[in-house]
């Protein structure tokens, strides 16, 4: 096996490109998932009956079904309804929708963790609900949300490997293509495992930095 390690070096460029796609898919999905999560949390906290029900159903369905199934439904399933999406778009869509559901719960919980008296104090000083949320509640909730949000993001980085089944040449699929070509497994699998680890660790470090900065204030 060890003499095959040079195959890894020879194909490093190819794998790094795969890692680049992995990172790209993760970051784009997190970006959209973040806003979906915010919107759904707001819907669940302050929406009227039907809106709240819809948001709740969304979270329940997404959290209650495997991500892999969601991905293949978006890529293969939607074709039946005349919606054909390319592999990357499908990956972005499925992962954003998925991460949005998890983040909405994080955001909802963190808003609820801010003591009731904060909202009352803001109201009593003449603020509207939106002003109170933006200036008083959200900044405090953000501090609570940052750690679980980081966990979700790191989890998502690794789960991007699932989109390899819909032919997106991210890191895992890059390795599998090389494996098919050379018929050796271990160097490539170990190589990408190491790359995932580096990316996750980098993410953790970045998040820890943000967390520290947010909590420095008080």
């Amino acid at each position: 096996m060890w003499m095959d390690m040079d195959l890894l070096w020879k194909n490093l460029d190819f794998l790094l490109r795969g890692a680049g796609y992995t990172l790209q898919i993760a970051v784009v999905s997190m970006f959209f998932g973040f806003f979906i999560g915010l919107a759904v949390a707001v819907a669940r906290l302050w929406g009227n009956g039907p809106v709240r029900w819809l948001a709740k159903a969304y979270v329940s369905v997404i959290r209650g079904t495997p991500l892999l199934v969601q991905i293949v439904i978006v890529y293969y399933g939607l074709v039946d309804f005349g919606i054909t999406l390319d592999a990357f778009t499908s990956a972005y869509l499925a992962l954003s929708i998925n991460i949005g559901a998890y983040l909405s719960e994080t955001f909802r919980g963190s808003v609820l963790s801010v003591p009731r008296g904060q909202l009352e104090a803001a109201y009593a000083s003449g603020m509207t609900t939106w002003q109170a949320l933006r200036r008083i509640i959200f900044p405090q909730a953000a501090r609570v949300a940052i750690a679980p949000m980081g966990n979700t993001f790191i989890g998502m980085l690794k789960e991007t490997s699932l989109v390899s089944v819909i032919t997106v040449t991210e890191l895992l699929r890059s390795a599998e293509l090389l494996i098919a070509q050379y018929s050796v497994y271990m160097p490539f699998y170990l190589g990408i495992a190491f790359m995932y680890w580096v990316m996750s660790t980098g993410f953790s470090a970045a998040l820890q930095y943000i967390e520290k900065r947010l909590s420095r204030a008080y």
Binding site: A124, S125, Q131
Partner: protein
């Protein structure tokens, strides 16, 4: 003189429990009214109905000419209450300072957000107010670094920032260690001397006796007795007030 705060037949019910059973109250400009009564008598709820933290089930609330009726649409009630809140300050039992803002930041927040005042101007007002409550040197400290008494004084400065016509105090010293009560009451006495209209829910009998123009005694959701403090404490008319005072004085 036309009262600055008035309630007529104010009823507040939570589900089927009536917490306020038709309160008629009138407070004149510059008057210091202390609301006394056993816990659960509806004192805090009365105060919270004045600025809309609770909305009336029936009856009328009027503050500085702005009127809210129990049978108005909730949307209109909320809009009226928002007007009222711009003209009232409230001080809470648990302070409720914004932990992510400095003392100064707490005081000027409503000036920046509600009044949209330029920052420099707001800061100047904020510093003056903190000086007035004796905390000029604590402007840049976060609440977590202040004692309870200091926090409550910041909260008073914050409530004063909007130049309220009326100040509402909801048990402002009840969460404080005994040795910190005095500094908060001192600030309140000063405020009273400056002519502020104040409605104070408290258990501080000494403050009620010395600073109040009038004592309102509540029990079981109703105003049982209203009197000048000297008369209320020396010779309360109602049996329930007599019982309440006996219990308090025993402690």
């Amino acid at each position: 003189m036309e009262p600055i705060v008035r309630t007529e037949g104010l009823v507040k019910a939570f589900r089927r429990t009536e917490v306020l059973k038709g309160i008629d109250l009138a407070v004149a400009k510059g008057e210091i009214v202390v609301v006394l009564g056993p816990s659960g008598s509806g004192k805090s709820t009365l105060l919270r109905c004045l600025n809309g933290l609770e909305t009336p089930t029936a009856g009328t609330v009027e503050v500085n000419g702005i009127r809210v009726d129990g049978d108005m649409k909730p949307r209109i009630q909320q809009a009226r209450y928002r007007e009222i809140r711009r003209q009232t300050g409230m001080v809470f039992q648990q302070f409720n300072l914004y932990p992510h803002k400095t003392a100064l930041g707490n005081v000027i927040e409503s000036l920046l957000v509600v009044k949209k005042m330029p920052r420099a101007e707001a800061v100047e007002i904020g510093r003056r107010l903190l000086e007035r409550v004796g905390l000029a040197d604590k402007c840049d400290d976060y609440p977590s670094r202040l004692s309870g008494g200091q926090q409550q004084r910041v909260a008073i400065a914050r409530a004063l920032a909007m130049e309220p016509a009326v100040m509402l105090f909801d048990e402002p010293t009840s969460a404080l260690d005994p040795e910190l009560v005095g500094e908060v009451l001192d600030v309140m006495r000063q405020l009273a001397r400056d002519g502020m209209t104040m409605i104070v829910v408290t258990h501080e009998m000494k403050f009620a006796r010395q600073a109040a123009d009038r004592v309102v005694f509540m029990d079981d959701g109703a105003v049982v007795e209203e009197a000048e403090p000297a008369q209320f404490f020396e010779s309360p008319r109602s049996e329930r007030a007599q019982k309440f005072l006996r219990q308090i004085l025993q402690d």
